[in-house]
């Protein structure tokens, strides 16, 4: 993006956040693994949980490598739970993110929380891996509040559902 000066880049980020997923969302597929930017730390691991580090209210948090929308952790929910009074969409898109603690790849399910207006906090968006609307499982222009009582979009969570390998 070095063809854009810093001003423009800032603008772009704002626009990307406002337009692309602010309400329309839905990175599917997660073809891209997020790069591990932290050193591998020796950490005690539970047998069946991903080890944790980082701030779930920050867009840099490792689970968000393929997220797109408002982070529920800034909206009264958490990285994996919805804010009070919303409903989690059962239809989801999947990403594969590298955990900086064990440098292993995990399968992440990005579920939307639905039934209230836009939360408006902690926009976090990227278009990598996004494909046109005829490949819905890879498209983030759709509102993915589907299979819920209401289609109104509030925010998105990032649930760890397994190891990728």
């Amino acid at each position: 993006m070095n063809w854009l000066d810093q001003w423009t880049e800032r603008r772009l980020r704002g626009i990307a956040q406002r337009s692309s997923r602010r309400s329309f969302l839905g990175r599917l597929g997660g073809l891209l693994a997020g790069a591990a930017t932290l050193p591998l730390l020796p950490v005690a691991r539970g047998a069946d949980k991903a080890p944790e580090s980082g701030d779930p209210t920050s867009c840099d948090y490792w689970r968000y490598c393929a997220t797109d929308g408002f982070l529920c952790a800034c909206c009264g929910g958490s990285a994996s739970s919805c804010p009070p009074g919303t409903e989690m969409s059962p239809i989801t898109w999947i990403g594969t993110c590298t955990n900086p603690v064990d440098n292993a790849a995990y399968v992440i399910s990005y579920n939307d929380c639905c039934g209230k207006s836009a939360c408006g906090n902690c926009s976090c968006t990227r278009n990598e891996g996004d494909r046109p609307i005829y490949q819905p499982q890879l498209n983030n222009e759709y509102n993915w509040c589907l299979g819920t009582e209401h289609q109104t979009y509030n925010c998105s969570v990032a649930r760890v559902i397994g190891k990728a390998d």
């Binding site: 739970s81 804010p83 207006s117 559902i161």
Partner: protein, 379 residues
């Protein structure tokens, strides 16, 4: 079919993953406590440019970051009125909807939200005569016994709707000609301020039907020094600020309001100042009074923001402090423990001051609100 394949693949993937891994559960939604902590507040964002889609945000003022402060939100449509129950974990909204957003058929409802879930748990359909006006506290109130919601109507005929939120029943529409707003009176009565300078009081029977009315003597002159209906309220007593800087106390604890002597907010050093703002006055649980004030008051400045908050001891009828504000404030409120003074400033941020000495503790912004004009301490 492609979609079905994809969903099947996802389910298989998720299933396979789950078999060997404790996945984060699907469908988890955060609960809230039944009794909200003393430093939680409700910020009502009327969303002027999109008034059909207003909202109320629940904030924990003790938390450090905006993400931690934000506990949740609920929609609040078309300049909704908001009141909290004192005995049930419930919030009531008087809202207006149209079947096609901004047009179509109008439906007014009392929506009942559960504080534990921030979900609507019921509604009562109202007549379509709710007043639509800038949000203020005394457009909807609960009766003192917490059993009936009282909603101010304006078409421009003026009346009050009585609604039973427990039985989810619309009870009555009581005319209050020439009067406005609702002040809970006694256990089950209400009063309204009238354009002729009186208070009009309606007593409700066990069913919530009007059982008698009374009218006070004329105790103020709306032409020469109007009382601002956005009163400070504590323990069944209101202190109305006036345009020219008097406090007019009224005791609403009995079946008929008792008008008490008015006294001046001003002294030599504050001559020419006036109260102002959208919610200019508040009272603490400790009985202290707070008011937003600005200097060089003039005709039309009664909604100008205050550059100071003044603190009064009403029993001594005396000002006990002047707090300069970081930014001029439009709206004033307190947490229920009277520890924190809440000011919506002209930048539409929430400034939190220590009530005891006026020290600025924090400024809350970046919580997704646009025109948060009213703030309530959780009760």
């Amino acid at each position: 079919m492609r979609v079905l394949n994809w969903i099947t693949a996802l389910l298989l993937l998720a299933g396979a993953a789950r078999a060997e891994f404790a996945a984060d559960p699907l469908g988890q939604v955060e609960p809230l406590p039944e009794r909200w902590p003393a430093h939680w507040v409700l910020v009502h964002d009327i969303a002027f440019e999109h008034i059909m889609d207003g909202k109320t945000v629940v904030l924990d003022l003790d938390a450090e970051t905006p993400a931690d402060q934000f506990k949740g939100m609920f929609n609040s449509a078309f300049a909704a009125f908001l009141a909290q129950s004192r005995t049930r974990p419930e919030i009531y909204l008087a809202e207006t909807y149209y079947s096609r957003g901004t047009r179509g058929e109008r439906t007014d409802v009392l929506t009942i939200y559960d504080k534990r879930s921030l979900s609507p748990t019921g509604e009562v359909v109202l007549k379509t005569n709710r007043a639509i006006l800038l949000p203020q506290k005394f457009s909807m109130q609960m009766t003192s016994d917490d059993t009936l919601a009282l909603i101010y109507n304006f078409t421009p005929a003026m009346s009050v709707s009585v609604v039973d939120p427990i039985a989810k029943r619309y009870v009555a529409d009581i005319p209050i000609p020439g009067c406005a707003a609702v002040f809970p009176t006694g256990q089950r009565s209400f009063s309204s301020l009238c354009g002729n300078g009186t208070l009009y009081t309606v007593r409700l029977d066990a069913d919530g039907q009007p059982a008698g009315t009374s009218r006070s003597e004329r105790f103020f002159d709306p032409e020469s020094d109007a009382l601002i209906e956005k009163a400070a309220w504590h323990a069944g007593r209101a202190w109305f600020p006036s345009y020219h800087g008097r406090w007019q106390p009224v005791d609403f604890s009995g079946d008929a309001p008792r008008i008490e002597p008015a006294w001046s907010m001003l002294d030599d050093e504050t001559a020419g100042w006036r109260p102002g703002g959208l919610a200019p006055a508040a009272a603490g649980a400790d009985g202290r009074l707070y008011v937003l004030a600005h200097p060089e008051g003039r005709e039309g400045s009664h909604r100008d923001p205050g550059v100071e908050v003044w603190v009064f001891d009403p029993s001594a009828r005396q000002r006990i402090a002047r707090y300069p504000l970081r930014l001029p404030g439009l709206t004033l409120a307190l947490t229920r423990d009277a520890e924190l003074l809440l000011v919506i400033n002209v930048e539409m941020q929430l400034d939190v001051y220590r009530a005891s000495d006026g020290e600025l503790l924090k400024t809350i912004a970046g919580i997704g609100t646009e025109t948060p004009l009213l703030v309530f301490g959780a009760n």
